[in-house]
């Protein structure tokens, strides 16, 4: 299946992905409701986006007591709003911090790959997020480790 591949070294921290994602999630622009989040590394010099890797283990699915998390047509774990009771167990179970809870709707929400055309990948001006048929993995681990050794790399 295709997944969101993160190329952290290409991210410039413009946060356009968050805007595009929130538009898909809510119909408005509201980064607080985005399910892709850009984090700073080494203070102000490096940024990288992070979102659900659609991991095989599916801890969120396992934890959900009402079976509200299912797998959609493009293989993404997706929250069924009419089943979700807002207990937040999934947000605790997810080891990556990519399950979110919206107090306005009292539902959990997460990346559902926009049904196969992820808005974040389309919005990213530097191709730091791509939608590819690859095995998902921890895209940020090496990058984060490298940040501790040197602040900047020679990328544009």
């Amino acid at each position: 299946m295709s997944v969101l591949r993160i190329h952290p070294e290409k991210c410039t921290g413009c946060l356009r992905c968050e805007l595009a994602c929130s538009y898909m999630q809510t119909g408005d622009f509201q980064p607080a409701k985005s399910v892709i989040r850009v984090s700073p590394f080494e203070g102000h010099t490096s940024y990288a986006p992070y979102t659900c890797t659609q991991c095989a283990e599916g801890w969120c699915m396992t934890a959900c007591p009402v079976g509200a998390i299912t797998i959609n047509a493009v293989g993404a774990k997706d929250v069924l709003d009419d089943r979700c009771v807002g207990c937040k167990l999934c947000t605790i179970a997810c080891p990556y911090g990519t399950m979110f809870y919206d107090p306005a709707t009292r539902k959990a929400f997460k990346c559902n790959l926009c049904g196969g055309a992820p808005a974040c990948a389309e919005a990213c001006p530097t191709a730091a997020i791509t939608y590819e048929d690859v095995t998902t993995e921890d895209w940020l681990g090496d990058f984060a480790r490298e940040r501790t050794e040197r602040v900047l790399t020679g990328v544009q």
């Binding site: 991210c11 410039t12 921290g13 413009c14 946060l15 356009r16 805007l19 595009a20 929130s22 538009y23 809510t26 119909g27 408005d28 622009f29 509201q30 980064p31 607080a32 409701k33 850009v38 984090s39 700073p40 203070g43 102000h44 010099t45 490096s46 940024y47 919005a123 001006p125 530097t126 602040v151 900047l152 790399t153 020679g154 990328v155 544009q156």
Partner: protein, 649 residues
Amino acid sequence: MTPATVTAPKQPRTKAATTARPGGFAGNLLRVDLTRRTSRAEPWAPETMRELLGGVGLGAMILYRETATKGGKGNVAWDHPDNRLVLGTGPLAGLPVWGTGGLTVCTIGPGTNGPTSTQANGFFGTNLKYCGYDAIIIQGQAKDWVYLYINDDVVELRDARALIGLDTWDTQGALYQETGLAGHQLSVYSIGPAGENLVRFAAIQGDYGHVASKNGCGAVMGKKRLKAVAIVKGTKALHAADPRGVIQAADEMAHDLRTDPSARSLYEYGTLPGVVNLSKMGALPIKNYTTNLTSNVAGADMSAWEAPKLRENFDHRGHQCNACGMHHCHMSIIRQGDRKGAIVDEPEYEGWSGCGWAIGSADRDGVAWLNTECDRACVDVNEWGWLCGWVMECQEKGYITREQLGFELKWGDIKGAHRLLQMVSRREGLGNLLAEGVKRAAEKLGGPAKECAIYIEKGATPRGHDHRARWEEMLDTCTSSTATMETGNPVHPTEIGQPARVNPFDGEQVAKYVAGLRGRRSFEDSLGICIFTSRTRLESICRALSAATGWTFTVDEALRFGRRTAAINRATALRCGHTGAMEYPSTRYGSTPVDGPAKGQAIRAQWEKMLDTWYAEVGFDRKTGRPWPKTLKGLGLDWLAKDLWGKKA
């Protein structure tokens, strides 16, 4: 540190809006009174949003309405508590249009003691809009140092005494620590020592490398004892009338920037290509306008100043503003020499100019470092270049002695320049006089020293070019009401009925051109968009604005809006005491280049004619500087015509 006061903004009771709020706007103006230590959110009407948009459109009107002295004849001075500091965004800020982190600062500044409009980016506009505000209006004066903290509905004036003395980067770091936030989660715009010490060309710096630099707006902040404005990335929603339309217009503008020959180098390298390109036109200022030959700078190898080589000299990484895909802003690391490992903000062209060529240095590492030191001290890098270059020339010629300055400062001496920067930003020794800016310092020293100083009679200094080879910018700078270029560079001039190019040394053609281009810049500076990402067709920008707001905003309305804004700023400037007699370059600024590509081109010989033409074209009275009643009425400013002309209107 505990909050000195906690005042959640109150919603005043207002009449229900007659029409729905247009998209793109957060809907509130945040008014902060530092004297009373209060704040409140003021909803503004949809009709006013269309009339003023934001940025300089909003700021100009606030200054005109709120900074008059009693009776409306005079204006409060820059250091009066009733002066306003308007930190405005605009309807495109925070949306997915490239470069929309926009901040426009409008205030009465100490350079000209008149109005200002000066821009910066980063994430100020984004964070503020998502907190629910379109602009911050700051008035009054705090008793002791405070900083303004905004987190959605929580607005606090917090004790900033522990931050005093810190430079702008360290202030941001300290506020990251205090709030537990980092990166774009917290946008911080602050002043460093220069602002605290009321240096007349102090800037407001934010988000590591973004600077609203003109007319000493940092000194206004210092006078108000406001050390910083820290805005958490808000959690509210921004509604767009046609969100897909906004994204489509943004993509179209991005395509233009990537492919249009006039914008492509900017897309790839930001303003870096300016150094080499301008040197070929004689518009790169070298050694305080004493020469236009790069070979007169020790160690200058122009091949090393080509944009790719300039960038590759450093380890670097993109550091873009909101939603921006330009390869423009970068953070860099110095690879070699004394300052190896130092993190700097990649200088803009004006940094390379003001901290380099204008002071006779071609040391790329040293210039980049000094440029960031200017940002950290919060000193306008343009005026810095004119000031430091002037001191260097004066010392070379014996107009300022070693004893006066306290040390010897030669062309290209980066360490010495840094020492001078510290003296100026802390007002130590001769630095106390130099902190008054080039014009006032030169007038104080007088004689031949005054003759070699670069300034405008209004009290400001030009941007970082040699305008003796860019006449349109010198005319724009001198006739502007905002202490810096008000019309700006032509972008797709034929789109608004202007010729594609004019003879750059024909005063009349140049004056007509500057007058004809008027309006576009003021419009763009009201939207919350960057000057560089708006280097696209005006029609595309209007389309983005229309999609965001739901209005049908045309190119004609945009130009009309911009000219209206400029007329309002002109009215405030006149009230501040500006006159036509101040619309002249200083002796050196208006001198004739002695060498280089523009050698012998004498702008002063054509200056009067240029002013005559410009005044006739823009519809202003040459004698008094006032826009004619006919001009004002044509812009729908009948009320202003009455204010300026009384019964004659």
